[in-house]
Subunit: 407 residues, 2 copies
């Protein structure tokens, strides 16, 4: 056996069996539980006895990009730097998307495993994650969203659409995730990668509650692919970037606290800038509304007073200083605001009411971002051994557990 490789100060054994790590976007544990209850997920149900089912915590903000990067680096955002989809670049003085590799501060385990001579493949649903996940990766890396535009030179694969036999799906569809699994199966059978990372989209979870027919059908689809990966002999590790909760009242109206409006009304329009790190180009299904916001203040001396004001707003769960948030959630302190605000389980935080296009919310809002979406599953198709019972498990331990703790 070769020596383990070190990535971000953690050791990883190189895989000797094809190992697939799946990040199921927005996988509140209850989705799996209810799908099992409905008989829609027989393979996952079987893992209770034949594999290992654990619970862990994701990174807060419980958003897609910070957590995907944590999973593939094995480290919190304080190490890898990606703490949202969107942030206020204080150096540049501008609000910018954080999906450029220049913002990434740590190497990925994926790239390191490839560098050690193993075959690595990455398939993501949305293209927004591809460049970050594929940073310095020699191997296969493409998105379902742009599967018809792959080339051997850029993505390490070609003709994947014809191999999969499914049309390139709409970016807002359950089909986008199914394409990821179908492509993963084709790659598993053909290229036989040593390590493969599959990352889905939470389109279904934003629209449908656990136990509903649409959610159960989506999990049945995933379950059937997990079974096939298992039958192919792969080691399978399934986790999530974050959970998902209803953010509505009894008749499905969203509970929204428009923080910029509240702050402007109280302190004037120039006093603060609210940033919603959930913001990205794909907002149709959540209207850029999540349960996490950051606030930049013109005058930092006002911080205690503003924090007290924010803490008194109905629907706000916690208000933290930059230092408190950096420490509690392991965030890069130079990329979060002067104040971090969390919404309660059933409440989302907006900026100004006029800045949110809610026309895409055709069903009651379900979203994430807060501490109430922090619990995620850690599921393996093998028994693990040697995991300390007292250890606080994180979704970014998924690769560690899959490579270092198989029984």
């Amino acid at each position: 056996m070769t020596d383990p490789i070190l990535v971000n100060s953690r050791p990883y054994r190189l895989p000797s069996t094809p190992t697939i790590v799946v990040c199921v976007d927005g996988c509140e544990q209850e989705y799996i539980n209810q799908a099992i209850q409905a008989g829609s997920a027989p393979f996952l149900a079987m893992l209770a006895s034949e594999g290992t089912v654990l619970t862990g915590d994701c990174v807060v903000p419980s958003f897609t990009n910070p957590n995907n990067l944590s999973i593939v680096t094995g480290a919190p955002p304080s190490v890898h730097g990606i703490c949202g989809n969107f942030f206020f670049d204080e150096e540049a003085g501008a609000e910018v998307l954080m999906n450029d590799v220049k913002y990434l501060r740590a190497p990925t385990i994926l790239a390191a495993v490839a560098r050690a001579g193993k075959r690595v493949a990455v398939v993501t649903a949305k293209d927004k994650l591809r460049s970050l996940l594929g940073h310095e990766l020699q191997g296969i890396c493409f998105s379902a969203e742009r599967a018809d535009r792959v080339s051997m030179a850029e993505h390490g694969i070609e003709d994947i659409v014809s191999r999969v036999g499914l049309p390139v799906p709409d970016v807002y569809s359950a089909g986008l995730s199914e394409f990821v699994f179908a492509a993963g199966l084709s790659i598993l059978k053909t290229e036989r990668p040593d390590l493969m990372y599959l990352s889905t989209t939470d389109y279904v979870q934003h629209k449908h509650a656990p136990g509903t027919p649409e959610a159960n059908a989506f999990y049945a689809m995933m379950d059937s692919y997990f079974q096939r990966y298992h039958d192919e002999g792969a080691v399978l590790a399934i986790t999530a970037d974050h959970g998902m909760n209803a953010k509505t009242d009894a008749i499905g109206r969203p509970n929204i606290v428009f923080l910029q409006d509240r702050l402007d009304e109280r302190y004037g329009t120039q006093a603060s800038r609210v940033i919603l790190p959930i913001t990205d180009p794909y907002v149709v299904h959540h209207g850029a509304l999540g349960s996490y916001a950051t606030v930049y203040l013109r005058d930092r001396e006002t911080c205690p007073e503003v924090m007290q004001f924010l803490a008194g707003i109905n629907g706000v769960e916690a208000v933290l200083t930059r230092a408190q948030a950096s420490q509690r959630f392991e965030l890069p302190s130079d990329r979060i605001g002067d104040i971090v605000v969390l919404g309660e389980r059933l409440t989302v935080l907006g900026s100004s009411s006029g800045e949110h296009d809610l026309s895409g919310l055709t069903v009651p809002l379900r979203s994430h971002g807060g501490a109430s979406e922090q619990k995620i599953p850690l599921i393996f198709n093998r028994k693990l051994s040697g995991v300390d019972d007292a250890r606080r498990l994180r979704n970014f331990d998924a690769i560690d557990l899959a490579l270092n703790y198989l029984a």
Copy 2:
């Protein structure tokens, strides 16, 4: 118009139209939302525009008896004294059920309205609530559980089973609640009470998640009765005693912290006594497992140390002193322990593992008791007017809103 009556220092106008207050046991708002999405609750859906739909907070501990008593007294447990189904009577030195009227410290609005000359009726699902709700009430008061044993002398009604035309249901069934609504309809049409209080059981909510076929069918049943009450011209106020959450991992195993075991292991078997106020004679569907516990200490000097120990346990959300809990949750300080412990949203608190019979848990545990089940609906079939937007609404404002704020 007659002068309002005063009950527990709050004024109530006497009803001039038959007014029905419904406490839907365990009605997490998402049940209604999902039932509406599934097309199972057209009447409730219509109230978004034709009536009033609000959100409020229930009493913590988010259990049935404290909240039912709060709704009918219009006051928190610090006033009415009922802070659980079960408590440790320090005077008697014994653990006892708290469903005897001797524990009730405040008059009910129901009894006061009857005393003012109005006709009042109460129908509860389980008999455990009947004597508390019916305290000093001149009127109709009986439980569906014992509907075949009613008498004019004791219950103010007779032959209700033949009038309803349904068999007396099993205590663990959706039918127990349906009987409440059917009896309510018969009483509305025949006795035409001025004020009627209907209280269901959360058997369905403990078993089935929002949006599942069983939950939607239960809410469809309720919706059809609400429509009929509305058609009969009644004013309708719908609220809940508490919400409901899954308390399991991804494959439905309960997340339980056995507090007595943990304390015994750390401090010895004589140092503490854990009380679970959810305990009552009807534990089949939750195994006496909720997200609220109190702890009595032999030596109160150890309180800070024990609190710190408890706060460090994974799954514990909050640990409060008797004084802190009394203040924050408006509880009677002589009837709660030295320490109050809340479980996280997905975690329940047990005493010793050997004391919980989990054989009745045939489906994944869903329960309540903590602050995560505090949000409840407040729904009316009329427009309200004059309610202060900044007011923190409680489920125990339901009668106030229905009698004093109709537009």
